[in-house]
Each structure stands twice: as structure tokens, then as C-alpha cells.
Subunit: 336 residues, 4 copies
């Protein structure tokens, strides 16, 4: 059954708006960051990673965001272009803002953390007037990400992008991606997440992220179905709620909770799992696949990313995902 | 024809959320404020004035807001209580914020201005968690006012109040009341006015206020009907657009533009006209009167207020409005 | 004995830098402000009051400060000019700042309080570059006041004025006038008060104000002589420490603690006592009078101000002070 | 001739207060940072570098500063301790501040730049109350650095440290180290640099840094002798003014301008030259050497640092400096 219909006549498959930053990944891993002496630089930020993932899978993509007017900003723009991502709406800040940073610490495959630099980050300075209506008018899908709602004027830019997407009929995907940095209060967070989610067709998040959104509501059992039902009353057609190791469930307005099998992986670190999953899943839905098959595709993409050192740079091509699934099916890959 | 249906089983006729401040009105008028030596203190703020107006007209009312923990704040709370306005959700600030002030200058009946003190104003510090769901659940009508959207956390408190009003079926009135103070940019203003207006049943504002909301839209002729039609696609049932001396027009989803006659007045100053008009109009609609009769009632209430020295304190009773209309009809009142 | 020598060849007797604001004095007094309905407007701010006092006493005076670009600001400038105070260095703010306000509450002659509006106050926006070196070069005396140290850039403007006064040989008077508003911390306060006091010839303050400055020092008994001795090691020649009802003591580097008799008064309120005392005292010292006679003159000036409704507007002329002293000496005035 | 006398009975040779951060040095050099893929982590910040330099030269040292409560902060503290620098007054921030960062770009030996992260930096949050009087009481020398004056409360902490140093008789060294980041205006900078410099015995800076301090003064020819003379009127005994390639001149109150020969070096990058020069020079003066010999020692130390990849980590021991000078004297080292 088809839950989401895409405007197939539009030339741009996928556009995302939001965070665009630098990951500095520890080269010496399996130790605390205090003992890490060198770091490798990658493009990062959840919506940037997903867009890179979509581009690697072969889609026409574009990014809407703001970069610092410095060496880090120029590196990001260049990397997007080398990945064939349209950057006509990647604006360069002129106020002296910096590029957000994420230093990663990999103590063990299951004990990873991030040291964030988000003060005065350029990506949060995107303004509503800088969002190009013409770009969104060309796009089949607009993806928004929660971190871009954390501050003005980026927050208003996201709402303006949502307004354009609604007007021009793009399918809207909301990757909740809640991170406490830069938000002033949990109440503020709940307010804007809810206002944005009302306008979205596909919502992906963890159970904890949905709990945060239900701060002023009554769902004492944290019941997925109550959560999903709220959004079906607005615009949603698919609500994916992730339960960590217990797996994810995709809810649809017909009352079905869709689950998919997972794949083994030789885990290096957990960063990037969600972004690659989102890319793989949205790609599948856009191909007209079932929700279950799309979820499997997302899982396989995630396995590839968590088996390698980077997030963005490890995003797989469709051939790599297909190959991974086949090798799993042949039993050639086992968990670490 | 009835355009708006009120939940008649609810005990509280009217609740408003937002600005609550002090007017300091020049005693020596018809001169520049430089030459004014004494000022008289009144409760002020558009939603407070409207609530006082509704209470004077005989309705059960309540206010949702925040006051400074000082002599000005205590004066405000006492004044509301003396006007039989419920203050259970008037919260006292504990951070050292001050009461917003408006010094009025009346150079002539048509040349009035306001000197505003809005820095660190207590009313803008109301938080979403302080808004009482139970109060809104008891209310037939919730009125919101644009100035409360100007800053966090008051902005989020308004969206939370809107969420409760939607959940419990209150009719929502939006008095645009745009004032440039405290807003960071015109873009920010447009974003939140639009997000709020999507959820409202009755929207009142000037043509210039609606223009401000259409900053990112296409309405080159500033056509009232294009403006109104947008909101009928969301929740609106009545959109009143005020054209200054050319009068106001109330648009309804059936395509009708309702107009009403106006009344003469001996004008002292123009302050408070909009607030008394709003009170009279909403009162009329709640009585089940036609839109035209309600607009006339609002006009008569406004005439009474602009003929006197204060805003809040001059809000008329129903008997006073009836009397004014009768005297106008008998030709006993002529314009100044 | 002469403790301070003034550069008598300079044409301007007295210049002050700092706070310049509006007092709104309750007209209905001897009640809480909640019950006050009308207020009368006066120029206020400690250094402004002192300057008005000096002008009334017949000296050539000037003010260095910043006013809001509004009706309040224009009223202040006009009032200074009508009192023959030079305003060539009274700068008008262009950023939308407001005029600081002080609402006074007079519950009884001994129970007075002030409700302050100091957010975004124009006087705190004076910059170092706006301070006219040529004006200070013409002045016998520069008075600085602690409130102007509370925020940047006013804080730096005061240090720049001190630098010019040192360079050109003006006698520097520091009226501590500590008020907690707008200071971020008690530590910050102590730092800048001390840096400024190091450069001053005459320092006036209450015992509590000197305690605040000794936050990082050792004076467990709060011993006036330890306090004064510190400043004699820098530039001070007179240190006046006020002990409320026990009276004031003026310390000098020769080890003497000077005291003076006080006068009876029919007290209306206590506001303005310190400012009129400072004006009378500095005037006396500039006349070459003994410290004791100068202190008496300050006391008499203070008695006149606390017997009337305003501060600035009640500042006495020399004839009025002389007359007050004579009437007290004849026993015509007794305490209220 | 001896210009500065040190309190030889104190057990701690050298204490510095101020910036303490992380350098991330490009591993792939001689290219724009856009093309640098990996970075190596070092302790950085001018006063930290100087302290490390003093410790390497064999002195008893301590640091007064604040570090972030994260992996970067812990790395810094550990590095200081491994270099035998006392860290009893290195305070850990508890507000979520981050460690300042400096990404270095080395395009060529003469074309180097720095990308700074100074927003919400922990080192600028040191408060006056956190400065240990007992530590400063034990120190022969206190070094302050201009960047710590850039913001409150670090600015007040420096003035408090100066106050303690004066009280206990430490020799005070001011390394101007002006960097525009975090200062609000050039006027503000001039104000606090001057207030601090008034209290210092030895002042080191570039001609441009002294120009910045003379913003409100008259020195049209930028005459070193006018500059130096001003500070001799306060506390200074040595004022070193650096003229880039033309070399440095050390002025003393006797009117002498001291110059020293320089050494050749195989330059990798210019970062760290000033810090190692300062360490070498102060070390020499503390040994009782002539100013000229101390300047030579500083130059040799600087040559060693600019010939290597890091700043802090390349600070030489006394044996290394001696060896470098000897090899230069034997003609074994020539310029690159």
C-alpha cells in the first residue's frame, strides 16, 4: 500500500535545511579523548549527512543552509559540490560566526560521546528571507531537522521553508534530531517541535524525542499509538518511533505498526546510524517500495556507516547497500 | 447567519492572555509631552483593556498573564479584581522584571503618540508551564494579542494557550495589535503571527498589520479578499480588516464583506479605540447578533472611550453603550 | 588648613559625568505607591542633582552625559539649560534607548523607597569617544558618580574622563552612590569602584558603600581610619564616610576626623539628602572654607531639600542656605 | 645596571594568569586549511605558553586560570602538571563553557593564520574571588596577558590579581597580546589596557599594540620614547616595543633604548615566537643578566619554537637555548 505520494514531475528529488558543520573524529580510538592527539576533519550535521547519503544513493539533491566565511565553511561547500549536491542556497555568513564543531570520542563501539561547539554557529543564522522559494518549489521532498529550530533566525527560516513546501506540494520529512545544546528550555523545545511536526508528512524520532514533545500532554504509558495518532490528525502519513536495540516501528494511519528485520555489523562506533538509516528509508519510500523494505534498506545503510570511521564520508551508494544486504543474506557478515 | 458557534456550556465567557501594563496619561494635554508635568496611572495593555471592556459589559472574564513583583504589579492585580476579572492565572514574576509602561502624549485629538518602556517587562516572561489548562478548558473564548508573541517565553506561552484552546474547543480571537518594540526583525514577526493566525477563529487587524503578515506572500494589490481567503483555508470564520477612516470590513467564508455605520464622537484622543471596538464586537457576536450589529456596538463602545481621558478606566457598561447609540440616533451627539 | 587646591585659573567651576534621568514623584504621599494615582516629573540622577545644586549656588557648571532621543530626554536638556548648566557635552542617543526612571514612594518621612527603571537607559550608553577633553580641560572640578560605572560603555567613558581630569589637573570628586541595579555582581562592583577611587581627590560615601569596596580586603572592624588610609596612599585628600543618623566624618591625611553640627528639619522625605549635602560641601571647600564649615553648609542644604517634595527642583541658592542656617541659629526651625 | 629587583625570598618564581586553550595545528602544512585533513592537539594560549616556557627553563611556576569541565580541559590540566606547573589555582568551570580553540593554518613560513573559537570560552569566566591571594603572595613575578581583559569576569579577575601582586610586592609583567576577538570596541580595549598597564613593571608589546592603547592620546609620530615615557610615570621599569623585522627595543627610565642581535632560524611558522621570546627574556632578567643578554636569550628561544611544528610543546630547556646560541655562534645554523 502507498502511504505517501511524491510529486514526480519535480526535477529535484530531495532538499534539506539545517545544520551543516564539521566533525573532528578522533584518529586514536578506543580511549578517552584526553589521550587522543590527532583528529580528522569531515563534513557533519544530521541533515547534511542525510543529504550526502541521498546523493550517494543517486538522487538529485540540494541543501539550504548557512556556512561560516572561513576555511571550514569553504571546505563544507566544496565537499557538498564534490558530492553533486546543489549549493545555490548555501549562504555564507558575513557576521563572523563560526562553523559548528563536533569532536567525537570513541571509547568503545558502544561507548561514544560528542563534544559540541555550537556557540555563535553560522548554521543557526540562516534567515527566512534567505530561504529560496524557487528551490523548494522544484523539490519532491523537503527534510527538516530539529536542531535548526533551536534558535532565531534559523528557527523562523525552517518555518518559512515549511510554508513554501506546503504551498508547492513537497513531501515534508521531519528528522527530530533533538540535542539539548542551544535550546533555552525544554518547554521552548516542545513548543516549536510541535508547531513544526503539525506540518510534516513523515516524522522520524526516538521514543525519548517524542516524549520530549509530549511535555504538555497526557500519555503516561508513553504509548506509541497515542503518539502517532496525534500526528495523523495533522498531516502525518508515516511516524517512525525508534526504540534503540528493540528496533524501530513505522506507524501508519491505517493502524498498522510496521517492523523490519535488522542486519549484523562490525561496529566501530554508533555515530551516523540514524542519518544513514533516514537516507536509506526515505530513498526506499521514494522508489515506491513497501515500508518494510524501505526500513531494511535504511538498516543496511546504517550498518555500513557504523562499520567505518566517519559518518558523512562513509555514506554508501545503492550498489554498496545492495551488496551489503546480499552478503548478509549469504551469511558473510556477522556481528562484531 | 451564524458564523461562529460558542461552547455555551462553559462557565467562563472570556479569557485573554498577554500584555498587562501601566498607562501614564498626561494630565496636561494638547501640548508636547516635554511640557507635561504630571501623569495619571491606569492599567493598560491591549488584551487587558479588552478584558476590562468585556467585564464592564457584564461577562465572566479571566486574565492569563504575568506581573512585576512591585507596587505597579500589585496595583494591576487589584484593579483587575475590583473589575471582577479572575486573576488565578495572573502570575507574579520573581526575577526582578518591571511593569511595562506607556506614557501617552496628546498633542491634539488626532496627534497622539506613546512613549513605551518594554525592556525587561514582566508580561513577556510568562512561561508555557504557567498557563493553566484548566482555566482555558472553562472558557468560551480565548483572546490572544500579538505583542505577547514578541519574545520568549511569552511567545511559547501563547502557543501553549492556543494548543489548550484548540483541545478544549474554545473560540479563539486574535487581536493582531502589532507594535515594533521588542521584535528583533520584521521577518520574525511575520513568522509567528502567521503560525498563530492559522489556529484562530476570528482575526482583527489593520490593513497594515495584515500587510506585515504577508511579507513572504504575493498580494501586490493588498487585496482584502486574498488576505481573508488565506485564513479561511485554516481556521478562520471572521476576518476583520480595518482601513482607518474608511472604516472596517468583516469578511466571512461565504464571500460577504460586512460593513457597519459609525457614530459621531467628541474625540479627546484616539488611544483605546481598537480595544473598546474589539470588546464591543466580540460581545455582540457572543450575544448571537449579526456581524453588522456587533460592529456597530463595537463602534459605539469605541466612541465612548475616545471621548474620555483613559482607556481601561473608560470602558463602558452595556447600559452606557445602549445609551450612547440611542443618543446618537436622536441626534444628540455630533462630532467634535 | 587647606587640604585641596583648586586650579583657580580655569573658567568652569564644576563638571559632572554620569546618570541623568527622570524622577516621578508621588503626588499623593504618606501611602503605598499602589494607592498613588498621579506623579510629577522632575530631572533626577545623583550627579545631575548635584550639578543643579552647584548651579543654584551660583557656580559655572557643565554636565557630561547621554539622554534619550525622546520627550523625556528633551525635557532634561531643557531643564539643565534653564538652570544655566552647560550642555555641550550632553549627547543624544540614537539607538532607541530610554530615559532612566525613578518612581518614588513616600509612605512616611522615614519610610521612602524607589522603583527604578534602568534597563536600556540612555545614560549608560555614553562612550569614551563622546567625552570632550576640551570641556574637562576647562574645569576646576570633575565629579564622577558610581552608577555610571555600572555598565559598558559608560564605565569606560568615566575612566576616560578621569584620565582627562588627571592630565589637565582638575580636582576629582567621587560620589560613591552605589545602587545594585544593572551591576552584574558585587565582585565586579568592587573592582571598578576601587580602580576609579585610586584616581580621586575627594571621596564621599556611606560606611556600607566603603564596605562594598573592601570586599577583597581585611578590615574586620570596618574601621574608618583603615578605609581612609588606603585612599590617602593613592590620590585622596578628603574621605567622607557617612554613618547615617550618627553623622558624617571627613578624614584627612593628617589623621584628623572632622565632624560638624547638624540642623533640624521638617522632613517630608529623605531622597536628595546626599546630593544636596555633596553640593553644599563641595561648594564650601571651593570657597576655601574649613572642612567643618563646608560640612555644615552641606547639612543645611540637605535640610532644605528633604523638607520639600522634589530633589533637583528644591536645590537651594546660597541665599536660601544662608537664611536657613540663620533661622536655625535663631531657633526658628525645629525638627518635625 | 639593574632595572628590576625581584623579591628573591619568595619560593615561586613565576605565576601567570589568563588564557589557557587548545591549539589544533594542521598536520598537512604549506597549503590552505581547506585542504588540511588532520590536526594535532596542543595546549595553547599566550600566558600558558610562556609559563610552559618558564617551566622548561627550570623555574618554579604556577598558573591561574579556568578550564572547561570536559576532555579538553582535563588534557590541559594534565599537560601543565606533567610540565611541573602548579595547578592549584586552575579552576574547573561548572557552567558548560568550552575550551577556546585555535586552528592554525600554515600556508608558508611567512603566511600563517589562526581560526579562533572564543565564544563561551571557559578561561574568560575566571572570577576575582577565584584568584588565590596566597599563591600570588608566594610569587616573584606575576604575568598578565591582554586577552584575559577582554571580558567580564576574567577582566575583574586580572585587576584583582594585580591588586594582590601590588600588595605583596611581586614584579608584574604585562604581555599585551592584543587580539580583536571578544572585545566589544577599540575604545573599550584602550581603557582597560591602560588601567592595567599603569600597575605593571615590565610591558612587552608590538608598536601596533601600543598604538591601540594610545587611541585617546597624542603621539602622531608613533614615537617609542613618548610611549615608554608615559609608563615610566606610572610603575614601569622596562618597556619593550617590537617592530617586527626591524627588531625590538627595550626602553628604560634612564633614557636608554636597548637592542640585541638576532639569530638565524629555519622557520616552519611564526606562531609562538612572541611567547618564547617573552619566556627567554623574563628568564634572563630574573637571572640578573643585562637587558641585551636577556633579549638575545629570548630571541634564541623564539628561533627554536618557530623552527618546529608546535608552540607550547617546542618550548626549549635552558640547555637547548644555550646549545642553539653556541651553534649559531659557530655558524652551524643559517636562515631558511
Amino acid at each position: 500500500m502507498t502511504y505517501v505520494t511524491f510529486p514526480l514531475d519535480k526535477p529535484l528529488d530531495f532538499a534539506a535545511i539545517g545544520r551543516l558543520c564539521i566533525d573532528l573524529n578522533a584518529n586514536e580510538i578506543h580511549r578517552p579523548m584526553e589521550e587522543t592527539m590527532t583528529f580528522t576533519k569531515y563534513v557533519g550535521g544530521s541533515p547534511a549527512n542525510i543529504t550526502i547519503g541521498m546523493a550517494r544513493l543517486g538522487l538529485q539533491t540540494a541543501f539550504i543552509g548557512k556556512i561560516a566565511n572561513d576555511q571550514m565553511g569553504r571546505f563544507i561547500e566544496d565537499y557538498l559540490q564534490r558530492n553533486r549536491i546543489e549549493t545555490t542556497n548555501v549562504v555564507t555568513d558575513q557576521t563572523g560566526a563560526v562553523t559548528g564543531l563536533a569532536f567525537t570520542e570513541i571509547k568503545s563501539p558502544t561507548d561514544c560521546s560528542i563534544l559540541m561547539y555550537r556557540d555563535n554557529a553560522a548554521d543557526l543564522l540562516l534567515t527566512p528571507a534567505e530561504v529560496q522559494e524557487s528551490l523548494i518549489a522544484r523539490a519532491k521532498v523537503l527534510l527538516i531537522s530539529g536542531t535548526a529550530l533551536a534558535q532565531s533566525p534559523s528557527r523562523e527560516a525552517v518555518f518559512q521553508a515549511l510554508s513554501y513546501a506546503k504551498k508547492h506540494g513537497a513531501v515534508i520529512v521531519f528528522d527530530l534530531d533533538y540535542r539539548p545544546y542551544t535550546w533555552k528550555s525544554a518547554e521552548e523545545t516542545a513548543t516549536y517541535y510541535n508547531l513544526a511536526a503539525e506540518k510534516c508528512d513523515i516524522i522520524l524520532g526516538t521514543r525519548e524525542e517524542f516524549d520530549m514533545m509530549e511535555r504538555f500532554e497526557t500519555n503516561p504509558e508513553k504509548d506509541d499509538r497515542i503518539t502517532a495518532a496525534k500526528w495523523f490528525d495533522y498531516s502525518a502519513k508515516i511516524v517512525i518511533i525508534k526504540h534503540g536495540k528493540e528496533g524501530s516501528i513505522a506507524y501508519t494511519p491505517d493502524g498498522v505498526g510496521h517492523r523490519a528485520k535488522s542486519f549484523p555489523a562490525k561496529v566501530v562506533k554508533t555515530f551516523g546510524a540514524g542519518d544513514s538509516y533516514a537516507a536509506g528509508f526515505i530513498y526506499g519510500i521514494m522508489q515506491g517500495w513497501t515500508i518494510e523494505k524501505s526500513m531494511e534498506y535504511g538498516s543496511a545503510a546504517a550498518c555500513i556507516v557504523i562499520s567505518s570511521h566517519s559518518c558523512s564520508d562513509a555514506m554508501p551508494t545503492a550498489a554498496q547497500v545492495d551488496d551489503y544486504i546480499e552478503r548478509c543474506n549469504r551469511g558473510e557478515i556477522t556481528a562484531s
